[in-house]
């Protein structure tokens, strides 16, 4: 892993590949574009400063996500203790919006809103697992690392979330749609 040995070009390419994911994740957690932007800047500068101490990295993506998550949670925790004094509670919580949902049939646009609502009703940790797995396309090992929990816990959280999603009647409609889609695709 050359990137952390002092070469800003390589560091730039990491920024190029990871920026969108890190920015979106920070935005989900902080719910403020300026703060998300600042958080990613701070993360990259901080990792650069510590690059010698960090040494070669095997898993770049999980490392950056882990560091970002910790940084943001610390920030929120600190903010929370300040806001408690003036009676405001932050909600460090992932929220999905309908525009982020892709349903495989354009006619079912209203489904996006329903799915978003359904997802947002999940408990926080389940939401984060779903987000990292399906949105950031991480595998369970990576998620375990980022969230600082056991591999088995990630599996359990995912299963619980999926079970809850499937039990909603909406999902039966969706699964039918997906089946139709798959069938159409195999015909082509």
């Amino acid at each position: 892993m050359l990137a952390l040995e002092g070469d800003t070009n390589a560091f730039h390419s990491i920024h190029g590949v990871l920026f969108r994911g890190l920015y979106d994740y920070a935005l989900k957690l902080l719910q403020d574009t300026q703060q998300a932007d600042d958080a990613v800047q701070e993360l990259f500068v901080r990792i650069w400063v510590k690059r010698v101490a960090i040494g070669p990295l095997q898993k770049v993506k999980p490392y950056f996500f882990t560091a970002l998550r910790r940084q943001v949670l610390n920030q929120l925790r600190n903010k929370k203790s300040r806001e408690l004094r003036i009676g405001l509670l932050p909600r460090p919580d992932i929220e999905f919006s309908p525009e982020e949902i892709v349903v495989r049939n354009e006619e079912y646009v209203t489904l996006q809103a329903k799915i978003a609502t359904l997802l947002n009703e999940l408990p926080k940790r389940q939401k984060e697992v779903i987000y990292l797995h399906y949105f950031e396309e991480m595998n369970y090992t990576q998620i375990a690392e980022v969230m600082g929990i056991h591999y088995q816990s990630v599996l359990n959280l995912t299963q619980k979330a999926l079970r809850k999603l499937r039990s909603a009647d909406l999902l039966t409609v969706l699964v039918t749609l997906a089946a139709v889609f798959v069938a159409l695709k195999s015909v082509q």
Binding site: H15, F19, L57
Partner: protein
Amino acid sequence: MDEFSTNRNDRQGLPFGFRRKPLDERVQEENWAAVENGIRQTAATPAGMTEVAPVRAIRGRWVLKVVSAAAAIAALVIGIWWVSTRTGHPEEMAVIKTGYGEIKNILLPDSSVVVLNANSSLRMSSSWTETGGRQVWLEGEAYFQVQKKASTARKFVVHTKEVDVEVLGTRFNVNTRRQRAIVSLEEGKVRLSMNGIVTAVMEKKAGLVMRPGQVAEVDEDLQAKVNEDKDVSTRSGWSRHEFHFDHTSLGEIAHLVQDTYGYEMVVEDSSMLEKQISDAGGVRVSDVKDLVKVLMVASGYNMQIREKKIYVTGH
């Protein structure tokens, strides 16, 4: 490249997919530019200072945990401080705004006076008390008369997008319209700090100290230009409802009218914008109609106001 590989094929389980909301490419570019800037700033500090203990991704000996926690807290404190001084937290802020053509006089808790020009906003912490730090955030233009305080610990700071003005007791005007900040100092001393990433954190001590009679202009790229102006007090003329034109082009006046009253100037011929206008020692006007009357006489052009537009035609 395997560390970047994704698991696109591992999508079973959900009958729908996710996509990212569109994001302007510039966000990413500007973010990298800021990171690079930050890296350059840190390169100047000795390596031994910055290399803290490794913060391992997960699990480490407790010593490492303690050290990394300390490092994380340090980074966090700097981060929070930096974020709060740069952007502030809107939920804790008191905001005073002016509309077009409106000027407000504000008396701050420390008896400092701020005259807020039209179409501007001044934010300050609602918990600002006699004992707290004296900080305000400005968009637009304002004139400050800051009370001197014996204790240097209670500095008065005006934050704008481009520059922070740290006041050492004084009278000055700050104009942040049109993507740059112009600070005009009448009396006393102020120090400017440009608002780059990390610059604000690491080079707070540095910055530009201004003397009375100086005008500093800081543009979007945080480049500062300092000029002397023997009539520096005319820069705050607006706070006394006065306009001063000294070979000022009609184009510049059009910007002024737009920023102050929200009226757009429409000229028949773009060469008219070059027309230079001077007045003898300043004009006092109460509203945009008054100003237009003065401009008609001074320029020799005909001007008509219709629906928030000023139409300028030849003789």
